[in-house]
């Protein structure tokens, strides 16, 4: 049995070149982002668990059970889902070196995001309850608000990459971490919304 199967040879033999590979910088940013999104998802999971438990065990005072208006949120859901597709399209354009088209689709995505936020605002102002009215109201605002914050951040990210992309060659078909990261994040926010919509409005 050998203990150190390979003690690198310091003299510049052909092998040394192969071993030098360990100094090459691997790009782990997407991996890091994905791990972070797992963590972020756990925050939401905690909120969802809290909401579902409240729902199951804490009866609300009379008059605090609301029939939520479904039209606006459904429209919002459609907007957000559509924006995932438009973002995907933007990334596809980029991969085929069509920078202009990519920027256009990014802009469309960002607008859909803004439209979503606007819809959310309209809903907030039309709701018959405020943050501290009762447990359901508080949880409702906490969940949608926390998600809305994510949409804001995502939108900001999109606008940033959109701005960066105005310089030709800033993102190449191979190297476009910014766009990729914003896209993954956007899909994540989108997915969270679907769960949220399901348990908050439909359940």
């Amino acid at each position: 049995m050998t203990i150190l199967t390979s003690i690198p040879d310091p003299s510049p033999t052909p092998e040394a070149g192969a071993l030098a590979a360990d100094t090459e910088h691997v790009d782990l940013r997407m991996f890091g982002l994905a791990t972070f999104l797992v963590a972020d998802g756990m925050t939401f999971a905690g909120f969802f668990a809290a909401y579902l438990t409240f729902r199951a065990v804490n009866p609300l005072p009379p008059g605090a059970v609301y029939e939520l208006e479904l039209i606006l949120p459904t429209l919002n859901t459609a907007l957000l889902v559509a924006s995932s597709f438009t973002f995907h399209r933007a990334a596809k354009e980029l991969k085929q070196s069509r920078n202009g088209a990519c920027r256009l689709w990014l802009l469309i995505t960002a607008s859909l995001g803004v439209a979503f936020l606007a819809g959310q605002m309209v809903e907030y102002f039309s709701l018959p309850f405020g943050l501290t009215d009762n447990l359901f109201a508080s949880t409702f605002y906490a969940l949608t608000g926390f998600h809305g914050l994510h949409v804001c951040l995502g939108d900001l990210m999109i606008l940033i990459v959109w701005w960066q992309a105005r310089v030709p060659g800033r993102f190449t078909p191979e190297h476009h971490f910014g766009v990729e990261a914003a896209e993954l994040y956007w899909h994540f926010v989108d997915g969270i919304w679907l769960i949220l919509f399901g348990i908050l409005y439909l359940l």
């Binding site: 991996f31 791990t35 809290a50």
Partner: protein, 555 residues
């Protein structure tokens, strides 16, 4: 003998300050960050220990005489928070993790050096914020668990600062966790397989998975709690229709895994120390790996054992009893494997080893009381008593803190190139060992016989044992003196260690001590048998050579 420099040095290390100034700056070098963590955390250990001292002084007499009752609650809240979030978690994860993991995977730095530095630099402000709250507005008074509605009714300023500080520390912990996962999984040197990694890598991988999965839940919960305090929502406030027990579920969903976040890295460190000083391979590598994964999995599904009296339904208590007790199985595997590692070795009973072996003794004791606590009928008597205080100090102090000290004796030559003084180390061990057991062993009896925890006044029948316990704490406080003297004196004028004083085989020793900026002057060595001790005759004579010589001569 010519040394070839690595072909390219990609990191902007030349932009970093040189010399000791590095340690006060936003350094990106994992070794510097590791030491920054170690020193900062140790500072907070002294703070937390001073707070423990105040607790023990108050408990010298059965009446509340040393400080006002509010202050007692502030002190005990700060003690718990500082010790957990500013001492144990940073030191075993951030400190040793940052220093060792890149060596172990054969990398020149962590996956995200900048994120790493950010994670560290979140800690000092969070810590000072927490401590400053005591002097400015009065600290939080609701214990480190901050159960509502109490935490909603105690003075808000202190509680909000507490939340803010824990959120920052949680963020730091998550950033660290992401970094460790990426480093262990993705930065391994080509040719190095997962099952060839030193055990500490696995421990840190498991820990980081727990960090990433559990810490965000605490963050979310604390945000909701702060809403309750600031915006007067009623999530956890029964007076406003909320549910106080839901907080407990969410809190323990993090804080139970947190106890494994505090101890798994210590398990990893022990697995590195024992083989070196017993001159034997680590026994049962594969089962060790699986037991870590088992602990990670089980650790996530046992949280409600802290809530047996919190109005949980019977089926839930039953489930959590069984799940909790089963953690003894993977943990037991690790302990028996360590014993088997020692068996038949050639054990050098130096300070590092003494602390590690004392860890085994204490942790087995604390683990056994833990398994007893997991039994609902047992727990409904001793829950929230000094029995629990005894249990967890046996584990966090007798376990993890002992390992931290052992590890410092083991890796100090690596950090500084100098040995720690051995007689002083043994004195440190002896005082700590006696003081610790004197302090915490009697607490089990106190709990069984009717002393609740978190009280500043108690039944006079318990006076004698409390005084004994305080004497133990005093001994522990004294025991830090030889340690501090030893560290400072040895760092300046200790015996020069050479590169590999223990003749160890793990990769961090196969370079100079202290190591160069990018860890190895040449390419990283490929160590596929980190525990290949006990080689038959005829192989390399490990006694004669240092690691540096091995690789620089190409064997």
């Amino acid at each position: 003998m010519t040394l070839s420099l690595p072909p390219q040095t990609s990191h902007p290390s030349n932009l970093q300050p040189e010399g000791w100034l590095r340690y006060l700056s936003f350094s990106l070098d994992h070794k510097v960050i590791g030491l920054q963590y170690l020193v900062t955390a140790f500072f907070f250990y002294l703070v937390g220990g001073a707070l423990a001292g105040m607790i023990r002084v108050e408990l010298l007499s059965p009446i509340s005489d040393f400080m006002p009752r509010e202050t007692y609650n502030e002190v005990l809240t700060l003690h718990g928070t500082v010790m957990i979030f500013l001492w144990i978690v940073p030191v075993v994860n951030g400190g040793f993790g940052n220093y060792l993991i890149p060596f172990y995977v054969g990398a020149r730095d962590m996956a995200f050096p900048r994120l790493n530095a950010v994670a560290f630099w979140l800690i000092p402000p969070a810590g000072f914020l927490l401590i400053a709250s005591y002097f400015i507005a009065g600290a939080a008074q609701s214990g480190w668990t901050a159960y509502p509605p109490l935490s909603l009714t105690t003075p808000a300023a202190g509680q909000v600062v507490w939340i803010l500080s824990v959120l920052l520390l949680g963020g730091s912990s998550i950033f660290g966790g992401i970094n460790f996962i990426a480093t262990v999984l993705k930065m391994r040197r080509p040719g190095l397989g997962m099952m060839q990694l030193p055990m500490y890598c696995w421990a840190m991988l498991g820990t980081s998975i727990l960090v990433v999965l559990a810490t965000p839940v605490l963050a979310g919960t604390l945000v909701l709690l702060s809403f309750d305090i600031i915006a007067h929502t009623g999530f956890f406030n029964p007076a406003l229709g909320g549910n106080a027990v839901v907080y407990q579920h969410l809190f323990w969903f993090y804080s139970h895994p947190a106890v494994y976040i505090m101890v798994l890295p210590a398990f990893g460190l022990v697995s590195e120390i024992l083989p070196v000083h017993a001159r034997k391979p680590l026994f049962g590598y594969t089962t060790m790996v699986y037991s870590i994964l088992g602990i990670v999995f089980l650790g996530l599904i046992v949280w409600a054992h802290h809530m047996f009296t919190s109005a949980t339904p019977p089926w839930m208590r039953l489930f959590f009893t069984i799940a909790t007790a089963f953690i003894a199985v993977p943990t037991g595997i690790k302990f028996f494997n360590w014993l088997a590692t020692l068996w038949g070795g050639k054990i050098a009973l130096n300070s590092a080893m003494l602390f590690s072996c004392a860890f085994i003794v204490h942790f087995v004791f604390g683990g056994i009381t833990g398994v007893a606590l997991a039994q609902v009928p047992f727990d409904i008597h001793v829950h929230d008593t000094y029995f629990v205080v005894g249990h967890f100090h046996y584990i966090v102090y007798g376990g993890t803190v002992f390992v931290v000290f052992g590890s410092i004796y083991h890796w100090f030559p690596k950090f500084t190139g100098r040995m720690l003084n051995e007689p002083l180390g043994r004195l440190h061990f002896l005082l700590t060992f006696i003081g610790f057991n004197l302090c915490f062993a009697p607490q089990h009896w106190l709990g069984l016989n009717g002393m609740p925890r978190r009280v500043a006044e108690y039944d006079p029948q318990f006076t004698l044992l409390n005084q004994l316990s305080s004497v133990g704490a005093l001994l522990m406080a004294i025991s830090t003196l030889p340690f501090l003297v030893n560290v400072v004196w040895s760092a300046l004028a200790g015996q020069v260690a050479g590169d590999n004083p223990w003749n160890a085989l793990t990769p961090e020793w196969l370079t100079s001590s202290p190591p160069p900026v990018e860890n190895w002057k040449g390419p990283a060595p490929l160590v596929t048998h980190p525990y290949g001790y006990g080689v038959p005759e005829g192989q390399i004579d490990l006694k004669a050579v240092s690691g540096l010589e091995i690789w620089s001569e190409g064997r």
